[in-house]
Symmetry: C2
Subunit: 480 residues, 2 copies
């Protein structure tokens, strides 16, 4: 059996931090004179108590985390964290069942942004802030996981990035804890810049802070039922910039700061991200052009909604279901593609599409010049076939996961569009689906409980790149 | 520039054969006293004339086919062959445009089975037979291509089968021409057996022969507007067996005959095919169970339609669109999976799913036992990562091809279900799509011409495993 004490040591520390974070919405509710503050204090006490107890209980053990322990930790942090994060949502007097509260908390920590809460406009400020904090924690959590943990677990070709983080040829990057500090620093600066610009562009300070946290995390919870339709064009353009910024590899910001300012522009994944995004925007504009008068400011509307969906943020300004079948197909495709590896965003990730493209290129070159030797490269480094094999595994599991989830959802009695787009939006951590029920104008509240639990599971496995979670269900994983 | 004379030499020989084959429907029309026979004779004369002219013109050249010439040949045989095969359909007095006739001919030669002809019940026997002959020729054509040509072209991991065909350890298999002869022999025996059984079970001799050709080719043209709903349960069970037989690797039949009777049962691909098929049947029965009274004989109906769709045959006995959303999803999935590599059937092929499964297995084993060494195997032979990389390329191009085709179809103005299922049924060479227009109860006649040409292109690239066709569009392929 595995010795899980080092795992619970880390989870205990995380819960203690999460509990302390609950005091922020408590203070805000107190400041706004809202009677909800005691429930945040109560949740904080419970969470800190469990966290500290876990930490104290497990402290004696050897603290080295092996490979299998890292798998257990990654999944358990999100599953257990969401359980405690759900407490204030459950008690907040919104008539949420525990299913609803857990769904909302998982949607927050996985930076998905699907919501079951109706009536955000009149909700308590503490509650709105707590939802934003959850997404913000989830965003930096996944960046650190993607940079420091997933490459070690060799999930979906992420082993390629092992060397990048810890022994680049340039030797500009020091050790793991320092690296995590740099990543968090970048995240803080981006969030602060976004908040200031939002406030300058006309948001209230509260809305600016809450939205900056869910923008940079490409997460999508809003404080308004109308989402970004409640704000003006200037705010929307700022959101476009920072959603895109959140979808770029955070390692590159660190490199840029440490003396390589061209890191972001020279990266193949970043360039591919903007090329794909540009293509989707142009095609969407073309689709809208076929429906004259459907949209007031086509460029801004298309840019905002396409960036929002492709990065997995999930803010909406309008219901793009009315933009014609081509646009709907493009949005559905964008959901699957997602942002860059090592960012806060979700989906299959652009890196894997670059790998697939390099494979096709090599194959075509071999056909044209049968006697030539062609090496696949990514950012100048050779890309071995075992990365391709791992990407194949990932893509296959991703599509099977999507199909199984869609079928399971359809068995709960929801319509076909809700089942298919719900599965896609959950596994890609986007937020809204398509169609009248869960589309940009809809809400997940009306779904049956079984569907909510299925979607919750979908968000988790999508966020943690699938295999990370699935291996825990192999009996041999536990008894070696 | 490429010297295309050896290519046109082979195509000339093929056209001469195709022209001679047109005399069979001419004789049948004459025997049934139908006035259509002269148009078959005229088409035959034209086709033979062009074929012989090509052959004579190109005869002087060096006859060695290089790798690039093999690519050109593979695509051009289908494109040019369909052009001549369309002549009798165009002239047959059915009011088909040339677009319709070419669509029908390509649907025949690619063993797809989508049809634009309404009123089969009253059509001339020669015409019905010609459609069946086209599919029968297309069926053996793809088997020979898959066994002898695609492994050489290294398309989609097919290089794995290079050794299997030409230098198995057992040394039981002689050289290419002998191999082709064996494959054709197997094909003839299966077709004859199927025809005899159909006739015994109650079909007229004409229907038995026409359907046996399109059954073993897993192709799907019928002589009846009602397809297999026009025949009794015994005939349908026979069809189930022979559609499945057509979807197994024909090399294994040859091996079985040459002294290894267990070849078929020991093959991983064959076992995976039946496991997947069984799973889809069980789940479909479950879906039907949720809609009591929807189907009279659930087991037969599900078996028939699922085997028909998964093998890419495309016969129908009923409109499975009414079997509930789960069943529709399963049928859609079955379209993509398809039959075995080296059979007459279509889709991504079970072989590639086995490769993906082996990748997942290896990956999971490495996670559970980080210090172990695990080799992927297929039928006992190691499966290298470069096969996985080639499968990744194939799967990616297949899905992109599907998405591009679906978007392009939706731009022609057809509804979303028709666009999505039309793209899937064309690229997977199945036949019917989903929904009221092109579903099992529908017909492709009403689609706009642009949509028909798009679907024709989809059938071609799907049948020839995508990259085979796409490389012809790389300028450097032509000028080296």
């Amino acid at each position: 059996m595995l010795d899980l004490r080092p795992v619970f040591l880390v989870i205990g520390a995380f819960l203690a931090t999460l509990g302390c974070a609950m005091l922020v919405p408590a203070l805000v509710d107190l400041a706004f004179d809202h009677p909800d503050w005691p429930l945040f204090v109560a949740s904080a006490l419970i969470t800190v108590f469990f966290g500290v107890t876990m930490w104290v209980t497990c402290r004696g053990a050897e603290t080295r985390l092996g490979l299998r322990e890292a798998f257990v930790l990654t999944t358990f942090v999100w599953v257990i964290g969401a359980g405690f994060a759900a407490l204030p949502l459950y008690w907040a007097g919104l008539n949420l069942t525990f299913t609803d509260a857990y769904f909302e908390a998982m949607s927050g920590l996985t930076t998905t942004g699907s919501t079951v809460i109706v009536g955000l406009d009149n909700a308590a400020p503490g509650l709105l802030l707590w939802r934003a904090i959850l997404q913000w924690i989830g965003g930096i959590g996944i960046v650190v996981t993607a940079v420091a943990v997933l490459p070690m677990l060799q999930i979906g070709g992420m082993q390629y990035f092992r060397a990048e983080a810890f022994d680049t040829p340039e030797k500009i990057l020091p050790r793991a804890s320092q690296l995590a500090g740099s990543l968090i620093g970048v995240y803080l600066v981006l969030t602060a810049a976004c908040a200031v610009l939002y406030a300058v562009a006309g948001m209230t300070p509260f809305d600016a802070i809450a939205h900056s946290m869910t923008t940079v995390a490409t997460a999508g919870f809003s404080t308004k039922d109308a989402s970004f339709a409640a704000f003006g064009p200037a705010v929307q353009w700022i959101a476009i910039v920072f959603m895109a910024a959140g979808a770029l590899p955070f390692m590159l910001y660190v490199k840029a700061i440490r003396g390589n300012p061209r890191a972001l522009f020279d990266d193949e994944q970043v360039r591919a991200f903007f090329v794909i995004l540009g293509g989707l925007v142009v095609l969407s504009l073309f689709s809208i052009g076929l429906q004259p008068g459907a949209v007031d400011a086509p460029l801004r509307e298309v840019m905002f909604n396409m960036v929002s969906i492709m990065t997995g943020t999930g803010y909406a300004t309008t219901d793009f279901n009315h933009w014609g079948p081509l646009a709907v197909g493009l949005f559905f495709t964008a959901m699957f593609i997602g942002g860059c590896t090592g960012s806060t965003s979700c989906g299959m990730k652009v890196f894997r599409f670059v790998v697939m493209f390099q494979n096709i290129r090599q194959h075509a070159q071999r056909i044209v010049h049968p006697s030539g030797i062609f090496v696949k490269r990514y950012n100048g480094r050779p890309l071995s076939d075992n990365i391709s094999a791992a990407v194949l595994t990932f893509v296959f599991l991703y599509l099977v996961g999507f199909a199984v989830l869609a079928v399971a959802l359809s068995l709960t009695g929801v319509d076909a569009i809700t089942a298919a787009s719900g599965a896609a939006t959950a596994i890609s951590n986007v937020g809204p689906g398509l169609g009248p029920v869960i589309g940009p104008a809809g809400n997940f509240a009306s779904l049956p409980d079984t569907a909510k639990w299925l979607l919750t599971a979908g968000m988790l496995i999508g966020r943690l790149e699938i295999l990370t979670v699935l291996v825990l269900f192999i009996p041999a994983f536990w008894h070696r």
